[in-house]
């Protein structure tokens, strides 16, 4: 456990340098902040457009097998009798049985027709009705602006790249675990001293020193990327972090999907299972949602893959979830039921489920959610996500 090594270390080092500890701007906000409650939300962005029809196979749909001659072989049947998990996701079955896993099998963002990854991800993370000028910050950051007692550690973006979903006015921490500074104690001490001399650098500098040196990641992190991220995140969530976002990639499977989707799905599963294991009792206060920019074509293409589509699946997991069920209905896969006669028809807006989760977990008002967080969203009927 490492709650505030910076403060401890900083105390000793500041004393050694003869600075005034009382004047340190680092000491007060951490000690005095109230928090936005005990519930924890993790948003996973699946970059590259996950094929929902492969991750969650509608084996009971009479048209499925014909659309997917090479991509419908088996799976782990769920008790709905209609859907089966991709074989690689078999370790998620116990979560389904325990009511800790749910899917929205046919959903999407409001983004339509252009099917560009970048625009699609922008819309997904901005939470806007479409592309265009509109908002330049992310929906999760706008949600933070509505919560009390938010500090920089309340929300975490775990990524080497800037994550738009958490960009914005509310404070947050952006960090890629495994950033290894490997500074010696003396360099660390001198830099701490310098960063405290310039207010613009103090918080960011001390946080960087703390995380880069004392996060138990002094060696290159081992394990699957999802496992590394999840372990690091669980550590933060045992502390002050309540909201986090991370992205997993590798879902853009235009060719040989049977082989190429496997590692990406396995990574997603590992992320979920590692978080669950590492969080222990806190899993009961945690909800995880995984969403992607759009789905893929209903039909397999000529290279045993699938191309950019529209409707796809969203995954929800967590100890507080009322799971073990499918949300939002199923449109069918007949030619007439498809969107544009090519893609799975989305029956709902992914933003609605994110909005209900935010409402149920943090008490945000529906009016704020549909005005500030997701402008123009119709939240629809309450899906009763949580226990």
């Amino acid at each position: 456990m490492r709650h505030d090594p910076t403060r401890r270390r900083f105390l000793t080092h500041a004393a050694a340098l003869g600075c005034s500890v009382a004047a340190s701007p680092l000491l007060t906000p951490i000690a005095m902040a109230s928090t936005p409650g005990e519930n924890r939300l993790v948003v996973i962005i699946l970059r590259g457009a996950l094929d929902g029809l492969d991750a969650l196979r509608p084996l009971g749909d009479p048209d499925f097998a014909a659309l997917r001659p090479n991509l419908s072989d088996g799976g782990v049947a769920l008790d709905t009798g209609f859907f089966a998990l991709h074989p690689v996701l078999s370790d998620l079955l116990p979560l389904w049985q325990a009511g800790e896993l749910a899917f929205v099998p046919a959903t999407s963002t409001p983004y339509r027709d252009k099917r560009s990854h970048f625009d699609g991800q922008d819309v997904l993370e901005a939470g806007t009705p479409g592309t265009g000028p509109a908002l330049r910050d992310g929906w999760l950051n706008r949600a933070l602006t509505l919560m009390p007692g938010v500090t920089a550690r309340t929300a975490f973006a775990l990524s080497g790249e800037r994550m738009r979903i958490l960009d914005g006015a509310a404070p947050m921490t952006h960090w890629a675990p495994g950033t290894d500074l490997a500074l010696g104690p003396q360099a660390q001490l001198l830099l701490e001293h310098l960063f405290t001399q310039d207010p613009l650098f103090t918080e960011a500098g001390l946080t960087a020193l703390e995380m880069g040196n004392a996060d138990g990641m002094d060696d290159a992190p081992r394990g699957a990327p999802g496992e590394v991220l999840a372990r690091y995140l669980a550590d933060q969530m045992r502390g002050e972090t309540r909201i986090a976002s991370l992205s997993l990639s590798g879902f853009d499977t235009h060719q040989q999907q049977a082989n190429r989707l496997r590692p990406a799905l396995r990574n997603l599963q590992t992320t979920i299972l590692t978080l669950r294991a590492e969080l222990g009792p806190l899993w009961a206060r945690t909800t995880l949602v995984a969403m992607t920019e759009f789905g893929r074509t209903a039909r397999e293409n000529g290279t045993r893959g699938t191309d950019h589509g529209t409707g796809g699946a969203m995954l929800l997991a967590g100890g507080a979830l009322k799971g073990g069920r499918m949300l939002g209905g199923w449109p069918g896969l007949s030619d007439a039921a498809l969107y544009d006669r090519r893609d799975l028809m989305p029956l709902s807006d992914v933003r609605a489920y994110a909005a209900w989760a935010l409402r149920d977990m943090y008490g945000l008002r529906a009016s704020d959610l549909t005005r500030t967080v997701f402008p123009g969203l119709d939240m629809g009927d309450n899906p009763g996500l949580l226990l």
Partner: protein
Amino acid sequence: MYGANMARASSLGQIRFGLGPRPGHAPALDAAALIADLDRPDPAANITPFAVRLERAAARAELRRAQRSGAMADTLAEREAINRAEVRDSQADLRAQLARMVAAPVGFRERLVAFWANHFAADSRGGHFRFARASYVEDAIRPHIATDFATLLRAAVTHPVMQGYLNQNVSVGPFSLLGRRTGRGLNENLARELLELHTLGAQAGYSQADVTQMARLLTGITFDLEQGYFFDARIAEPGLIEIFGKRYGGRPVMERHVFEALDDLALRPETAAHLAGKLARHFLADDPDAGLVAHMQARYLETGGNLRALHAAMLEHPMMWQPPLRKTRAPIAWMAASLRATGTAPDDILALSGRDTQRLLRRPLQAMGAAWETVPSPAGYDDSARAWITAQALAARMSWAMGLAGRLPRTPDPSDFVTTAMGDMASPALLRVVRGAETRAQAVGIILSSPDFNRC
């Protein structure tokens, strides 16, 4: 103490307006010297011409067509070969740009190019082109930073990278030949950003109707993969289009009508205020003195929107030569400043392998929050002093600085190095701390990581 003040102004100028000092080069620096630097011919650098990016985009499209029509069974290998060349050239562009920044006598031109490239923020992700941002900046921005703003504006908004980024090439006049036949219509993206970001500014008080009018007028501005930018009369909206009380256009539709409107936008007082304020915020402080901005704005309008005059008006204002340093260096500018201070030879940068370019330049830039060839939005990177200073970005800077310090063939004496790097702009705290480092390399790394060296 006239001499001491001059020396101080000189180091301040190199940091505030340039890319920081190099060992053995301490040019006496004032406004006139900076403008003279700008008037010198721009030394050529080997950045991939946009024509090459265009050719490759055409070749990719051709291969995709061949595959779809069945003329070729599988074009993946050919397309991957093209894409490998694109990546290789993008890495070479990064090395060439950084080497040029390190070689520059002062680097004022490089700072201005970066400023105006961020003003006209565009990248090529997700469109026809890959890694074409450096080519766009080289072709459309760099040659025009000391001419009339109208020239720069025209070059930027008609460039295929900008058009692709803001969807201008799919905008069709509803009453144009093609619009009437196909039912296709306007895309307002470029028109909106042209008013909000490129010219008048968000504060200027124009309406949605103005945006729509501008979008109608911009139709015809398009590109294809054979010729790049061209004006296509078949998609241009015919008839007179009124914008801010003036009528443009008419029949026949002409490219000239669009350029007239751009020229007028460039000379509006709102545009002058927007550009002057943004430039002063970039080089001086997040909250620049109103008198300074008014002075720059007035000179811009007096000179018919001339950028050289606007830059000179900024440089000659006494406020611009006052300490302290209140802004922070952008990632690539900080990298260049570090390489300059350590006396790294531009040729050593050009000689980096692809793998080392990735490891030592590209990935670190991304971790510092400014991935090569990308922009976060049409508004560009946030230009406030605070924006670059996040924990993740600072960790990346420290890590890179320590790595560079450890790789130097001859590690300089820390006390000499702090003078080389900062002139006489180092804080007493930095001077003290340098003496406390365990090794010379550690001291160099700490100086490059310090708040002092991150400021500009």
